[in-house]
């Protein structure tokens, strides 16, 4: 059986008419930029706020962890971050799990395509959040700790980088994985290893912080940003390359869905 015959058979099996109206297939019904753009602007506003907060209170209240001002401005920010981030993990991941689609075998082609574009929007937000953690605030950490001697693990740089932006991207990484697993048939029936690596690798940077902080406390390593103590982050950062495997996988799925959707629209003939 050729691939097109298989498509026609599966289309017929789903009760889809090859001559279905095309009015439901406008591209705007499948791609909405509103959600990702709003989320991106929200994240950008949050990151600008955190950077301005550092500018205002890092040198004025962040140099001595024993002072009342440090407790007020920096430990206060840390407590707020931890409560909000853990709550947001619980809220988003629970929402995705409890609203999962239990009838994926009945999913229409056009709905599946729409969900793929939602997934891509989710991954876009994940990548945007990762940028601030892995690039912007990560190198900023060098500019602070190679200039100012630390007397605590909870420095003005770390409170934003390690306990702010890193748990924040985990929210979207795990969220995008859960979205795919609970709403897309191919990701529900088989776990994608590239996707898993691209989410779990950056997530493991969080527990690696324990080693990092232990090493800094034990060896007082400030002089050398490229020190072996930091290489755990390096290896875990390589996992971002697995997004390439995920891109190939999503492309394969979408090509198949586009062919099926074209068939559904009655745009083929024998």
């Amino acid at each position: 059986m050729s691939s097109m015959e298989a498509i026609r058979e599966s289309t017929a099996a789903e009760g889809l008419s090859p001559s279905a109206s095309t009015k439901d297939f406008s591209t705007s019904r499948f791609i909405s930029f509103r959600g990702p753009v709003l989320a991106m602007l929200g994240i950008l506003a949050l990151m600008v706020f955190l950077r301005m907060y550092q500018q205002m209170y890092a040198f004025s209240a962040g140099l001595d962890s024993t002072t009342p001002d440090f407790d007020k401005y920096w430990m206060g920010l840390l407590r707020v971050e931890l409560v909000l981030l853990v709550s947001s993990w619980a809220a988003l991941w629970s929402f995705l799990w409890f609203t999962r689609d239990r009838h994926l075998d009945k999913l229409q082609v056009k709905d599946e395509i729409r969900r793929y574009f939602h997934l891509i929007g989710f991954i876009f937000i994940y990548a945007f959040a990762v940028y601030f953690a892995a690039s912007f605030f990560a190198e900023q950490d060098a500019s602070w700790h190679q200039t100012v001697v630390r007397d605590t693990s909870f420095t003005p740089s770390h409170i934003v980088l390690f306990y702010g932006t890193m748990p924040f991207y985990v929210l979207f990484g795990v969220g995008s994985f859960l979205y795919a697993m609970t709403r897309l048939p191919k990701f529900a029936s088989n776990i994608s290893i590239p996707f898993l690596i691209a989410v779990v690798g950056p997530f493991l940077i969080l527990p690696n912080l324990g080693y990092n902080e232990w090493g800094h406390a034990f060896w007082l390593m400030e002089e050398f940003f490229s020190a072996p103590l930091h290489w755990g982050f390096v290896v875990l950062g390589w996992s971002v390359l697995a997004l390439g495997g995920l891109l190939i996988q999503i492309s394969q799925h979408l090509i198949e869905l586009f062919r099926r959707a074209d068939a559904e629209r009655g745009a083929y003939s024998a």
């Binding site: 239990r102 991954i123 002089e223 930091h230 997004l243 390439g244 495997g245 586009f258 074209d262 083929y268």
Partner: protein, 275 residues
């Protein structure tokens, strides 16, 4: 059997007929993916580079003739090689290396402006990042012309390292002018390093002033470049295959499927498992 559309509703892409609707969605997909890839590559390349060779890039007085020239291309070529596999082998896009190095320069400059300069107060003359874009152009050109990863590793990888010092020399030359400070001969770069206090970072002279590193003649950077070129060839090969590994689609059956309320796959018979 192939799809056939009316001319007004079809488009040919790489010899395959698609409806304009599919082609339009596909192009939107490309656009979103391009932005995602830029963000992801910036994050990964920058993190990798700053934690393996960052110190030499942060400070101008660390841009020496030996360690900087040796280490930077060796670390710099890792992601370009992996991305060349993904871009070239999967999408026939001949700019994986240049894309990676442009992303690195973007990420580095964002941090130098908003962190090193605006927050920690260092002048740009002390903290400008190096560029590896010239070497990346060589790497992409060799891959485009040869279409062969081994030739790219040997000729492109060597070119990537050999052009590094020359590519940065226009920015660096003035910092090598000599100065006399407190009866010592130092370079302009060294003096800038002394003048701006980095409480937790040594000025580079304290870090490298051992053995004969700085007593070699003017050929230090040439020797360093060729050594770096040799390692870059090996590093390119290793990272081409890492790119291949991480661009491969692997899946395993989802053991949580029934827990998710979905139908389980039919159990395979023992006879089929035994084959």
């Amino acid at each position: 059997m192939s799809l056939k559309f009316a001319d007004s509703d079809s488009v040919q892409l790489y010899g395959i007929t698609w409806s304009k609707w599919s082609a339009s969605l596909s192009r939107m997909f490309d656009f979103i993916v391009a932005v995602i890839v830029f963000l992801a590559v910036t994050s990964a390349v920058h993190l990798n580079f700053m934690l393996l060779a960052g110190d030499w890039d942060f400070w101008v007085d660390w841009k020496d003739r030996e360690y900087w020239v040796t280490l930077t291309p060796i670390v710099g070529i890792m992601f370009p090689a992996a991305l060349q596999y993904l871009f070239w082998e999967k999408f026939r896009l001949p700019f994986g290396a240049t894309f990676a190095m442009v992303a690195l320069v973007f990420g580095a400059w964002m941090a130098r402006v908003f962190a090193f300069h605006e927050w920690s107060g260092f002048p740009y003359s002390l903290i400008w990042p190096a560029t590896m874009i010239p070497g990346a152009l060589v790497l992409d050109t060799v891959l485009l012309l040869t279409g062969n990863f081994l030739a790219t590793a040997i000729f492109g990888g060597m070119g990537f390292a050999l052009i590094f010092f020359a590519g940065n020399w226009p920015m660096l030359a003035i910092y090598h002018l000599p100065l006399q400070v407190m009866n010592s001969l130092v370079s302009v770069a060294d003096y800038i390093g002394y003048a701006f206090t980095r409480t937790a970072t040594p000025e580079y002279l304290r870090f490298v002033e051992r053995g004969t590193l700085r007593t070699f003649g003017g050929h230090s950077e040439v020797v360093a470049s060729f050594f770096s070129a040799f390692v870059c060839v090996l590093m390119y090969l290793a990272w081409w295959f890492i790119g291949m590994l991480l661009s491969t689609v692997f899946t395993v059956p989802n053991k949580f499927k029934t827990m998710m309320g979905l139908k389980a796959e039919p159990r395979q018979k023992s006879e089929s498992l035994a084959v």
